[in-house]
């Protein structure tokens, strides 16, 4: 008999069905259920559910919105991957938020001061951001390994410390530049040689014309996703990571150094976190200011949960969340409070989590039955191997 994995752990580690049909069926089922619940909620708030959803879809599919959604999804995706790496071994990196903000600030200050020919400036900036994010996350890892401090607590506190540190550094006397009369404070602008151009040009060359500016660093998110997938599935490190998450005791007995894995995982997670701010910094804002998007680290946690820690799942989740966030404005325009979007996101995550857990249990039962059944009918590898 197999020991049961507690539901919450299964949820965190992204356990789910293994069979292909269920893998695709489960999320579709979950989304349909959550759509249904959302419709009911809209109805309850007095709106017309069909026309509300219609308005969201209409608005969300305009070319401008598509660009915004993709840009937003890029940020969500990187953030969720950073979180998911930790989740894979049951490490809860709540500090992605602080890691990426601090990384973005310092990288922005560096990029603003650099004037290297492309692509060296860009590469240096991105590497610097990853290093800063990784180091900041390493603090939590080292604290856990040497002092047994829960990474949840330390990363939450490190978020606050990062906020304070950023407030201190983002000052005309330090990293920010003086702009008389401005209500904003920002680092010096990244020189044009250090920026990353929009993707629109490249896309129109292949016949896709989009308005606005699609992040030039969007492909980085795709690369991160692919690397994540390859590492988890095809490398020894990925195997160790997976085992550490699923069965820490077995991992230790198998020779995985739990301490080393914790630190390495935290650093990797932090380094990816460092990337979160880069598309915006190098492709849109060119400075770190008070307006720099914050809170992405927390969105990432939800998106990672929704995406089941799977690179492709996270991609869908990121786009879905980006779509919902993007279209929340249009809901206000049809007199639905924008808060309903937050409720919708919550409903989606809850439904997915519950459906996955139910499907997973169903599948375990089915598998055990199948194993017993096949053994009973003589389909047995042991016997087949012996030629009996």
């Amino acid at each position: 008999m197999s020991k049961k994995v507690p539901a919450w752990q299964a949820v965190l580690r992204g356990l789910g069905p293994r069979g292909m049909a269920l893998r695709i069926g489960a999320p579709v089922l979950a989304l349909l259920i959550s759509l249904g619940i959302t419709m009911v909620l809209l109805r309850v708030t007095g709106a017309d559910p069909v026309s509300s959803v219609q308005a969201m879809v209409d608005y969300g599919t305009t070319p401008n919105s598509v660009v915004d959604i993709l840009n937003r999804a890029t940020r969500y995706y990187l953030s969720a991957v950073a979180v998911a790496i930790g989740f894979r071994m049951a490490l809860l990196n709540i500090g992605v938020d602080g890691q990426y903000r601090l990384a973005a600030l310092l990288a922005a200050a560096l990029a603003g001061a650099l004037s290297l020919p492309a692509p060296f400036g860009q590469i240096l900036t991105i590497v610097a951001a990853m290093v800063v994010g990784g180091l900041w996350a390493a603090i939590a890892g080292v604290l856990k390994v040497t002092r047994g401090v829960s990474e949840v607590l330390s990363t939450i506190m490190l978020n606050s410390i990062a906020t304070g540190l950023i407030a201190y550094l983002l000052n005309p006397k330090r990293l920010a530049e003086m702009r008389p009369g401005s209500n904003n404070i920002a680092t010096p602008q990244v020189p044009s040689s250090g920026r990353v151009g929009a993707l629109n040009g490249a896309l129109s060359a292949i016949g896709i014309d989009l308005p606005g500016r699609l992040y030039g660093l969007l492909p980085v998110a795709i690369v991160v996703g692919i690397v994540f997938w390859v590492v988890v599935n095809y490398t020894r490190f990925g195997f160790d990571l997976k085992v550490s998450g699923l069965a820490p005791g077995a991992a230790e007995a198998s020779g995985v150094s739990a301490k080393k894995m914790i630190v390495v995982t935290m650093v990797t997670s932090g380094a990816i976190a460092g990337l979160i701010g880069m598309p915006e910094l190098l492709g849109a804002s060119y400075e770190y200011s008070l307006n720099f998007p914050a809170g992405l680290g927390f969105t990432g946690i939800t998106v990672a949960l929704l995406g089941r820690n799977h690179p492709l799942g996270i991609a869908f989740a990121a786009v879905l969340f980006a779509f919902l966030d993007q279209t929340s404005d249009v809901l206000q325009e049809v007199e639905v409070p924008k808060e309903i979007v937050g409720v919708m996101q919550g409903v989606v995550v809850l439904t997915v989590v519950i459906v996955y857990e139910l499907v997973r249990r169903f599948e375990i039962r089915r598998e055990q039955r199948a194993v017993a059944g096949e053994l009973a009918t003589g389909h047995d590898l042991a016997r087949a191997g012996k030629g009996r």
């Binding site: 407030a167 804002s285 008070l290």
Partner: protein, 346 residues
Amino acid sequence: MRRGLKVSLVALTGTALTLTAAGCGGKKAATSDQKTVKVGLAFDVGGRGDQSYNDSAARGLERVKKELKVTTEEISAKQDEPDADKESRLRLLAGKGYQMVIGIGFAYTAAVLKVAKDYPNTKFLVVDADQCKVSGANVLGACFSEEQGSYLVGAAAALKSKTGTIGFIGGVNVPLIHKFEAGYDAGAKKVKPGIKVLPGKYLTQPPNFDGFKNPALGSEAAQGQLDQGADVIYHAAGGAGLGVIKTVGAAGKWAIGVDSDQYAQPALAAVKNQILTSMVKRVDLSVYDFVKSVGDGTFKAGTKQYNLANDGVGFAVSGGHMDDIKAQLDDLKAQIVAGKIVVPTE
């Protein structure tokens, strides 16, 4: 104030030439009367009901609605959003045919300038335009001299203080709020050089904008300054300031409100007699002026400074607690208007 305060974005279909068929998802009376002028207003984070900055903008919109017979639309901003969100919000309104679009809060500056280029027939207003700089023939930036109004309430605080110690509580540690503090400090020291102004207390650091929203933070900070002997406390903390005023009022000391005349706010009725005055920032006026100018064809692109000279900022006298020192303050005001006193902003 910063975006934690409010940004309102008013979009108005001035002459409503086009029948905006896109209209709204269902229940808007968009097509009822082609002559109706439509104004949309989108707030920054916090939105309507923050008892302060956003509500001031909302008041301007209400007045526009009543006096100029326009209909309005409001959209609130989300927390922690990047510029792209503000941009798409403006685009959403402009794209629906609103002919006036207003962004409240300096965070909208870049977004307004960008979107305005794509919608030359739409008039845009950005309140608290960053660095008081805008461009484009269809953009107006409203700027406020908060430091001047703060100077006068600072002087009032110093004159009314019995302990010789006064306090300042800012919502979030951003440059805009530093202006309030700088003016307050200078005004107090002008009338009473020996006055002790406690170091300004900022409730939160960006990007945490709770300092403009969470009254509990305000209460706590106010208690701290009361404990240090302050008997007049000025807040520039938006919604969190409600906590400041309630705590100070409950202690029987003087509170000074901000943005609107907080004496008149129902939420503060219980302690209104402890509200000495409020530094009034007429965001409502800037909204009203803008819509009116577009309506009567006198719209002028560029920036407009709201200061003591045109009563864009000032102090409230509700409750009569200022009667004895009003003359003194008016004298200071005259000197500022005349340029004899230059109020620092840092």
